[in-house]
Point group: C2
Chain length 135, copies 2
DNA sequence: CCGAATCCAAATTGATACTG
DNA sequence: CAGTATCAATTTGGATTCGG
């Protein structure tokens, strides 16, 4: 593990804070804040699933339970991050399509690792909670 | 409840198609809800770092910024999940030590994948936000 | 059809103080 | 030392409504 705390005491350049998880500027912490959002990772995965452009309304159809507000908000956030591309068709009525950027697609890899762990181990977690519930 | 209640065996269909992410019962969604918590993943990684037993107060020292309340709460949650083991020494004053269970250690793997992505790509994300900030 | 703005309810978090 | 209880502030998500 890279856990040597060789901090110089001065502000380190971005990308060099590997051992400093509790620093709010730590990239890992910021990433977790982001994908920890209720809809972010679901949207990324949905976009990865279709592997192409999706319209706003179809996205909302696929993401059952999401409100227009949260869909738009999450999408704007993802776009600002460079994870999602937004393409506006200048028609009437307007047609807007979203897709994953290469950067966004690269995020799917670690997200899949997480999904893999969840599929494998969450039943164990559930069993543990059920067993120790009354403790 | 899920209609797919077959938890005793492998239910993954052929290909990549797995559980419905938008189902609140989906394990991946539940895992993300959990590690999306502000302190959960930080604590798991801290415990993985020491690779042994840690006392409550030392944990609080390492996890700069966490309050006793949140530390205790997150720890209790992790323990109920079977990710963390709690060992009480019946002395006066009491000494309690925490450690990662094997299950908890296994979670470190996908968490590290996430960290890896963050270290590599968050600077790009930042650059993108900075570039398109004023829009 | 897309999405921004407003208002509001609910879940999280934190500061502080108290207990065994 | 290792928690727990209570209260308040902040954040988050959702319903509705209005505009392009």
């Amino acid at each position: 593990m890279v856990t040597n705390g060789d901090r110089t005491g001065k502000t380190a350049p971005p990308g060099n804070r590997r051992g400093d998880l509790f620093d709010p500027a730590c990239p890992t912490r910021r990433l977790l804040d982001r994908i920890g959002g209720k809809w972010t990772s679901m949207l990324v995965k949905t976009l990865a699933d279709v592997d192409g452009e999706v319209r706003f309304s179809e996205l909302q159809r696929r993401a059952r339970g999401i409100s227009r507000k949260m869909l738009a908000q999450t999408l704007r956030d993802l776009e600002a991050d460079g994870l999602v591309a937004r393409h506006v068709e200048p028609t009437v009525p307007p047609a807007v399509r979203y897709s994953l950027t290469p950067l966004g697609r690269s995020l799917v890899v670690p997200l899949d690792a997480l999904r893999d762990w969840a599929e494998t181990h969450m039943p164990t977690v559930d069993a543990h909670r059920a067993a120790g519930a009354g403790s």
